[in-house]
């Protein structure tokens, strides 16, 4: 396959709340939560940030990083489970804000935490078929966790955009493979402010079954093994799940370390493993191979195999790295967090 990543850009709001601060409000033991989740803090959107503003900032970073002409983008898809409108695409605003309109097709994707990687696959097909020259796939969320729910400790905000094309690649996408079943591990009904989930049911029949099946399926299809890869990224609802699934599959902790951003960021849902990939590309060298598997509740996983090209050095510094976006956070207390997340109704 001669399709790959032409550019990428990430965006993370500056606000953070520590797990201890949330645990204090609900009378929980912070150490047991940190040990259980391997998450220390999570990002929080500003009062005037939402999925669309985050997607626009990530998309602009992707455009700027490689000097992309936005008029060459023929398709733009924004994956999220927190689109601000139930009816009206986030992607039209993003396309207008990066100057890609009007000669392109856009749509919003939704598949829990893997809508962004589904958008990458769609762009791959459209580019490879010759329908479009460049496609932009975005994963962005201001994810929701009900007050006091386990999700509240990890549900974070952030977004990542990838430009997919055939020329000037920073990473070839060697192959992709998906594994999908109807597994009701997590959902949010229309009009409901917070999702519901199956507690531990989200683990074995949800995350682990789908991530491991997609990962093994791709390696079988390509004839590769974990040791063939320099880095690996798995969907990061917390720190424990990707660490455990990496071990199950035979990947080392060193391979997943650069992309395991969840410990300082939380779960950015549709941006989750795409953020891990961006952090890995930030430090990767030409020739490095990267393995990535997303997971979306409901449920499905998309696996990808990438090879980094020498062009990565040319564009790397054209936009902020994930590490720079994680640096210099503003810590807030639970009351401010509640205001930022619209948990206080005026």
């Amino acid at each position: 396959m001669s399709v790959g990543i032409v550019s990428y850009g990430a965006y993370i709001p500056r606000y953070r709340i520590r797990v201890e601060e949330i645990a204090k409000v609900w009378g929980a033991n912070p150490n047991s939560i940190i040990d259980g989740l391997m998450v220390y803090e999570k990002s929080v959107p500003d009062l005037d940030e939402d999925t669309i503003t985050i997607a626009v900032e990530a998309a602009r970073h992707a455009i700027n990083r490689a000097g992309i002409d936005p008029q060459e983008i023929g398709a733009l898809y924004t994956g999220s489970e927190s689109h601000p409108y139930a009816v009206k695409p986030s992607s039209t605003v993003v396309a207008e804000a990066i100057g890609a309109t009007p000669n392109l097709t856009v749509a919003d994707f939704e598949f829990a935490c893997k809508a962004g990687t589904a958008a990458i696959q769609t762009c791959m097909g459209m580019v490879d078929s010759g329908m479009i020259k460049l496609g932009m796939a975005i994963g962005a969320d201001v994810s929701q966790g009900a007050p006091g729910d386990a999700l509240e400790y990890t549900a974070a905000a952030g977004g990542v955009a990838y430009v997919i094309g055939k020329k000037d690649l920073v990473a070839n996408i060697e192959s992709t493979y998906s594994f999908t079943t109807d597994t009701p591990d997590f959902w949010r009904r229309e009009g409901m402010p917070y999702p519901e989930h199956g507690g531990r049911f989200t683990g074995e029949p949800g995350y682990f079954k789908h991530v491991s099946s997609a990962a093994q399926g791709l390696m079988k299809k390509m004839g590769t093994k974990p040791s063939d890869y320099d880095y690996a990224i798995f969907h990061q609802p917390n720190g424990k799940f990707p660490t455990r699934v990496a071990k199950m599959l035979g990947f080392s902790s060193e391979q997943i370390k650069p992309g395991l951003v969840v410990t300082r960021l939380g779960n950015t849902y549709s941006g989750s493993c795409m953020m891990g990939l961006a952090a890995t590309l930030d430090i990767a060298k030409a020739g490095d191979r990267i393995f990535m598997t997303s997971f979306g509740s409901g449920a499905g996983s998309d696996s990808f195999s990438y090879t980094v090209t020498d062009r990565i050095e040319e564009i790397r510094n054209g936009a902020p790295s994930v590490e720079k976006l994680l640096a210099d956070p503003i810590y807030i207390n639970y009351a401010t967090y509640a205001r930022h997340k619209n948990k206080i109704k005026l």
Binding site: D48, I52, E57, A97, L346
Partner: protein, 131 residues
Amino acid sequence: MSVPRFWRRLKNIYNLIGTHCEKCGSFLYPPRNMCPKCRRNGMTIPFKFKGTGEVLTYTIVHTGAKDYTKLTPYILAIIKLDEGPQLTSQVICDHSQIRIGMKVKAAFRKLGEESEKGMIYYGTKFVPMEG
């Protein structure tokens, strides 16, 4: 702001697109059909501003209008863009950080919304250059 009024201006608001007079060299924001200096002899063309500038002056609004209750207190500033035009905008930063002469850059943010079921307005605000 009505939906049609916002829609007519959204390209300008999203991307800081104003006008440039090729006759006298003036840069104008918001866009003008006619150059105020050259009048009918002017030659105005659309121009996308870089989005960088500095704070000329500012105030901190503690009693905001109804639609801004959630954001109050907020910083409202006059920004001088590097190309010359001045515009009024919110600056998003810690209130102790704002100062006259501070270098700022454009950021894409929510400007407001009609109501919980109404239109959401997006556009340009400013953040500190290093932030």
